[in-house]
Point group: C2
DNA sequence: GTGCAGAAATTGGTTGGACCATTGAACCAC
DNA sequence: GTGGTTCAATGGTCCAACCAATTTCTGCAC
């Protein structure tokens, strides 16, 4: 009965500051790396206290939009537009085996969908770019007799980009980052990722052939090999009783 | 109650504040909804200024971990542990039709995977809970001759919870929120979501039968009906040239 | 003029104190 | 009970400093 009576909004200083700042960035066409006005100037221009400006900037910093360097200034870290939507995720206990497996389940879902979408939408240029990254990766693999995480990652990124939906790259990138933050040298498993190598080309073949279901299936196989590697690592971990 | 809050070290004050607070929450076993010490008390106990406490809490607020209510206090909104990992995502341009379709592609991937995982992992208790939510939803549907977004959402949430991976609920919830922020009464499409109704029970049947691939397929069908509704809405929008 | 060390200005980080706006509980008349 | 009023508690904002890291300028030695 008393629906459609949302709480009213009287004050929202720091939100207003962020809105104004987003408009400023847009108007000045500022891009990543560029410096934005000092806190003192913002406070003066916006007619708010420096404290309020700081709270607003703290929010942006927490979202990774901005970087503050004491003595130097505040710099944009990413593109910013007035109609951004924020989706902060917190993963409790992400530095143990179970946490890693949880992120991998998300990645499995997204990786498969991205590969399928890519197979549908990728044009000639995108397919050529993916193949280029694939060649680089395979060359690195043979030269160093093992997976090169850098080149491997670039190959996957090219697929996300060709999916036509930037959200895939954003979300998977975030998980990729916290994946590597805690498991830089994954669990002492030798040849980590080795088993995933052949599937990179099979995925590409399906994409090039515009076969979405095939691409999805191959992507699932690839993730399955990574999960196996992780499980081996967990077994190792149990033996050595680390952590 | 507010013991065990020793003063903190030097440098990186606000991070240290958050660390101390996380430890405090852990020690006092505070859960969602509970109130934590006032800013003034925190400032005094931690031997930092109230502004520093506020910057730290602003960060947590931005991450959705905490809610501040003026005149009342600061309350936990989610479980918090010292070893959390944060993954803030900012999505550019989500309030137009193309943006909505992009979020729906992500949701399609996750919804399908969550349903499949749920079919594998859900125990008797989880299945009973899902069926309870389904019954409530169906009852509301027949009573009001249309989809009830509230009950519908609760049904889906129960599936995410039963998937055994809280990330599904976190990510999809975030997208669900921004979905409704801009399209509260979706696009003037009458009977929005009507077509999705039957698939709720077919999904449940597959889950109850522990049939992951069936659940995945039905979930994909459900999302497809939502996409169709959205496309119809976009067509309406073009006619009226709103926005 | 060049190069470099030290001074000075700039800028984010922190502090303490003050006041405002909202909330919620206690209290009071009716 | 119901509906106001008062009042203390609490988050929100503001101000005016000062600290610490960085950058820029200055002036001296060469």
């Amino acid at each position: 009965m008393t629906d459609s009576l949302p709480p009213i909004q009287t004050t929202a200083r720091d939100d207003a500051v962020l809105k104004a700042l987003a408009g400023f960035v847009r108007q000045e066409a500022l891009g990543p790396g560029e410096k934005l006005p000092t806190e003192r100037i913002l406070a003066e221009r916006l007619k708010v206290s420096r404290n309020t400006v700081r709270e607003a900037l703290t929010r942006w910093e927490g979202l990774g939009l901005v970087e503050r360097r004491q003595g130097s200034g505040t710099y944009l870290k990413a593109a910013v537009s007035p109609d951004m939507l924020h989706m902060p995720l917190t993963l409790a206990g992400g530095n143990d085996f179970a946490g890693l497996m949880r992120t991998l389940e998300i990645r499995r879902a997204l990786e498969a969908e991205a590969a399928a979408l890519c197979a549908v939408r990728a044009g000639k240029a995108e397919i050529a770019e993916i193949e280029r990254k694939l060649d680089i990766m395979e060359e690195a693999f043979h030269a160093r007799a093992g997976m090169s995480s850098e080149e491997d990652w670039e190959f996957h990124q090219s697929i996300y980009r060709a999916s036509g939906n930037p959200l895939f790259e954003q979300i998977i990138s975030a998980m990729h980052e916290l994946f590597h933050r805690f498991w830089e040298h994954p669990l002492g498993v030798r040849d980590f990722g080795h088993a995933s190598f052949p599937y990179h080309r099979t995925i590409f073949d399906c994409i090039a052939a515009h076969d979405p279901e095939g691409a999805r299936a191959e992507a699932l196989k690839l993730i399955a090999t990574v999960e196996d590697d992780l499980k081996r690592g967990a077994a190792n971990l149990k033996l050595s009783d680390r952590r």
